[in-house]
Subunit: 226 residues, 2 copies
């Protein structure tokens, strides 16, 4: 059975990506990151979702050498009640410098060690917060890093790399992702999106707003926000 | 004063790179990685060298999700008494999948958070063990990741990125590096290269062999091996 490494945050997008990879016949190995995020409770969600999907998971604890993001530093306010249509106009304080570069670098290391042929990431460049490391051009550049900087990538380059990065949601709207999640029977009620990580979703952070927009546009009810 | 992030392992090459960056007028912020390496004692050397250079340093503890290298797994033998001329013919068991990708990804995150304009890495593609993530083409690919995946890189792309990756030793021979270290007054006696990490250098691992070759070719005596 072909193996894949899945970057699983416990949110709607990465959980849908896990189920998508499963539907494509991959044996999925999930990496869950504990990187000092405010919304640490997403880790619990991620573990629960991996278990529900009958997939192996590992929590990787990362100690970032700085606190340069409102997701890392409680003294910086998380933007609220922003207009989703304007999210792409700038990069908000929730941006964590280099986060997807770090997550992918661990995924590459793990994939090479266990002989996985693909890394799946739930990044989206349509209904998103404008993070540069969620855009197609970033993933294209990262593939070249794999092709030049790893053992698996630098072998037989003429036949293409044997380790790919797949971002199946990259050009989908949030409504499309919600529909796909339903179709794939993702346990949506177990996912966690809110940046604040309180007892219940705050419903005003960018992540809650995008999620609500997706369900509304899809004409479906989200038990999470219900 | 312009800031730089330095990847400092405590070996001869990264220490020389630190002193090189200092000589170019950078205020240096060193990242030292504790990634489960056998030769953990290099961390002590790195801390001592950063202190000697009057530079800030941080030890970043990384928990890799696997043990796929003889540098991580004590049950795998470290190659010994190999012929340095043949090192480039294959990738040895000491290769740690994705190591420089991971180290650089933390450096990017840190550089962006503190507003550094450069990342320095002591990689070398001449007298080296054949690791793919030490070659010029890998660093070129990684620069594109910075240009597409970060806030600092994606601003003003027409004027070039404001965060560069510099590998000043990349095309130098080990003898040239030894000479440069002497000229820059690197505290060579504090550096540690041996993969085994014992009380004294083993003198038979690839790293000890390359170091000895460098001093021999430069016609200098290495107190480390003396």
């Amino acid at each position: 059975m072909k193996k894949a490494v899945i970057l699983l945050s416990g949110g709607l997008d990465s959980s849908t990506t896990l189920y998508y990879a499963k539907s494509k016949g991959y044996s999925c190995h999930c990496l869950i990151f504990d990187y000092g995020q405010r919304h640490k409770r997403e880790i619990k969600s991620a573990k629960g979702i991996a278990k529900k999907a009958n997939c192996e998971s590992q929590v990787v604890k990362i100690q970032l050498p700085h606190k340069g993001s409102s997701l890392l530093d409680n003294s910086i306010a998380i933007p609220k009640n922003r207009d989703a249509a304007r999210f792409k106009k700038g990069i908000p304080s929730t941006y964590v410098p280099g986060r997807n570069i770090i997550f992918l670098s661990f995924a590459v290391s793990y994939a090479e060690a266990i002989g996985a042929g693909a890394i799946f990431i739930g990044a989206n460049a349509i209904d998103y917060s404008g993070y540069p490391d969620c855009r197609p051009e970033f993933f294209e550049a990262f593939k070249k890093v794999i092709n030049t900087g790893t053992k698996v990538g630098s072998k037989r380059p003429s036949r293409g790399s044997r380790l790919g990065v797949k971002a199946p949601l990259i050009l989908k709207s949030k409504a499309d992702i919600v529909r796909l999640a339903r179709r794939l029977k993702v346990p949506i009620e177990l996912t966690w999106s809110c940046y604040k990580g309180g007892e219940t979703p705050c419903r005003v952070c960018d992540s809650c707003i995008l999620r609500a927009k997706g369900f509304k546009d899809a004409g479906l009810v989200d038990k999470y926000n219900g």
